[in-house]
Amino acid sequence: MNIHEYQGKEILKSFGVPIQEGIVAETPEEAVEAAKKLQEQTGTGWWVIKAQIHAGGRGKGGGVKLAKSLDEVKEISSQILGMTLVTHQTGPEGKLVRKVLIAQDVYYPGESEPDEFYMSVLLNRATGRNIIMYSTEGGMDIETVAEKTPHLIFKEEIDPATGILPFQARRIAFNLGLSGQAFKSMVKFVTALYNAYDKTDSSLFEINPVLKTSDNKVIAVDAKVNLDDNALYRHPDYAAMRDLAEEDPAETEASKHNLNFVKLDGNVGCMVNGAGLAMATMDIIKLSGGEPANFLDVGGGASAETVEAGLKIILADENVKAILINIFGGIVRCDRVANGVVEAYKKIGEINIPIIVRLQGTNAEEGKKVIDESGLKVYSAITLKEAADLVHKVLN
């Protein structure tokens, strides 16, 4: 599950990770109040207004701006709130900004130059252990750093039996070129950060930048926090941070029916039982000359209710010109799935695009018969090859 920067920072702070302080606001008036309050709490004279959306690259898209007075706080937050922010991660349609984070200015002048680093905590799938990945090149896109200057990216793997050890935290601080008070601050920062990752059942922490301030503090200026969906049952407080406004409405609707749905841009919808077969079905659509409009795994059941819910979600997408239902019946019988499809079809009523139903496995022939004799405008297939050919046929 993705959460907002301000929520991620709240979590970090609760585990003792120093952060750039801030207060979230939903209106320009709230923003001004937040700015005043922040001034009292931190003494900051300037503020950073940051759009809160579930996507990176906000700065380049105009979603992060500095305000040097309360008037500017009001002006800038009115501009950012309600804007449709387009970044390299939002897609061309962009995302509507509903909240801004009013954050303290942390780039103030002082005894030393501020310095930005990159730091993330994530699973190394090859070893089954967590790693801390970090770089001296903060504030930049880490994939660019990895491509151009891979020697500037370091990794520290953590033994799950011991957690992060003091020498590892010191090694990270040394590799980042720190000394004196800044060194000590970094050791504390990285230790607290790893412990927060571990205790929150997160699947990714990405802090970019981690800032060494001019007075040698080390703080998280941004926070991308992804939580492990499978572990949310242990963290009801984090589960409550889910922001439905950030999700595609079709995906939210699908999740209510326990359907695993991902919206895509193509013209052929699909409904499949099993994630691997669902991906393979999308690939078949592409090879048949179409583009997949979605990923949809209906899971084990494939009952009339799930088929109906799935069909409705797919049909709501105007780009969809055809639908391929691909079910491999193992435990679930194909004739039952076929009856479910017919029932759902009749219930929905007028469907103006061709539907191809491919049923294979237990009682496949009986299932095909149910479809063929239903009198509906539905094509039936048994092999994957036949289904692919039908997709090609209906698109041309």
Binding site: Q89, L123, R125, A126, G128, R129, N130, E143, A146, D159, P160, A161, D198, D201, S203, D228, D229, N230, A231, Y233, R234, N260, V262, L264, G266, V272, N273, G274, A275, G276, L277, A278, M279, A280, M282, D283, I284, I285, K286, L287, E291, P292, F295, D297, F328, G329, G330, I331, Q360, G361, T362, T383, L384, K385, A388
Partner: protein
């Protein structure tokens, strides 16, 4: 011949008396699998489906010499069940459970590192040696005894491949569902290695998907050590970056774990890579004929 499970395997079910455990245990027994009992803490001493129920895996090992365990325990308790099986000395642990928190699996992986047990899964359909033992949730009837080994991260996509093989008259030695999670006990490479060393296996189907680097590692191993034809498919050629496609582990993180990148390396390593999942069976048939 076969790998991991056969007619002599002594199989127990953890989570035996639950609804999933009961249903699939019945199906396994009906297939002819040598199920010798099950474990449900607190129900030891009773019988279920005509078989003894034990309180602990250790009791099952001591009393009915269990050496394979299949786990249907709910996600919150599944990691503990895997570690209990390993502690009791179970040789092959097959975890079907989907939805185990990754952090729990980090602990499991570490716990298993100095144990003799092999874990298959979690989040997998299980392992079947056709005609001998069905240990999992796959439909038994689509399988046929023979010489093709199948390794896959997916459930229904594996059934699809098996079905194609059977209809072409190509039976299977053992089909291993390795699971769709980011951390799994047996990797693609390890499963391929088992089948490559199995005298009863003539060819191997390797089905992967986006995310991680397991298929690439397996491909490099096959290039060095392969002695049998391998047919490969990677699901998710059309999957977008950064979106989780159903399986917890099916997510493109960078440029190396896309379907295209994996397929390219697999081809370079001599694997017969198919673009369409409809061609898996026929490609194996041709590969065997041209050998």
């Amino acid at each position: 011949m076969s790998v991991l499970v056969n007619k002599d395997s002594r199989i127990i079910i953890q989570g035996f008396t639950g609804s999933e455990g009961t249903f699939h245990a019945s199906q396994m027994i009906e297939y002819g699998t040598n199920v010798v009992g099950g474990v449900t803490p607190g129900k030891g001493g009773t019988t279920h489906l005509g078989l003894p129920v034990f309180n602990t895996v250790k009791d099952a090992v001591d009393q009915v010499q269990a050496d394979v365990s299949v786990i249907f325990v709910p996600p919150a308790f599944a990691a503990d069940a895997i570690m209990e099986a390993a502690d009791a000395g179970i040789k092959t642990i097959i975890a079907i459970t989907e939805g185990i928190p990754t952090k729990d699996m980090v602990t499991v992986k570490d716990y298993l590192s100095d144990k003799e047990s092999r874990l298959v899964g979690p989040n997998c359909p299980g392992v079947i040696t056709p005609g001998e033992a069905k240990v999992g949730i796959m439909p038994g009837f689509i399988h046929m005894k023979g010489g093709i080994g199948v390794v896959s991260r997916s459930g229904t996509l594996t059934y699809e491949a098996v079905d194609q093989l059977t209809k072409l008259g190509l039976g299977q030695s053992t089909c291993i569902g390795i699971g769709g999670d980011p951390i799994i006990g047996t990797t693609t490479k390890e499963a391929v290695e088992l089948l490559m060393n199995d005298p009863g296996t003539e060819g191997i189907i390797m089905i992967g998907e986006i995310g991680g680097s397991m298929e690439t590692e397996a491909a490099y191993w096959i290039k060095e050590n392969g002695t049998k034809p391998v047919v490969g498919f990677i699901a998710g050629q059309t999957a977008p970056k950064g979106r989780r496609m159903g399986h917890a582990g099916a997510i493109i993180g960078g440029k190396d774990d896309t379907a295209a990148a994996k397929m390219k390396i697999m081809r370079e390593c001599g694997i017969h890579v198919v673009d369409s999942p409809a061609d898996i069976g026929i490609t194996m048939k041709k590969a065997l004929e041209s050998k």
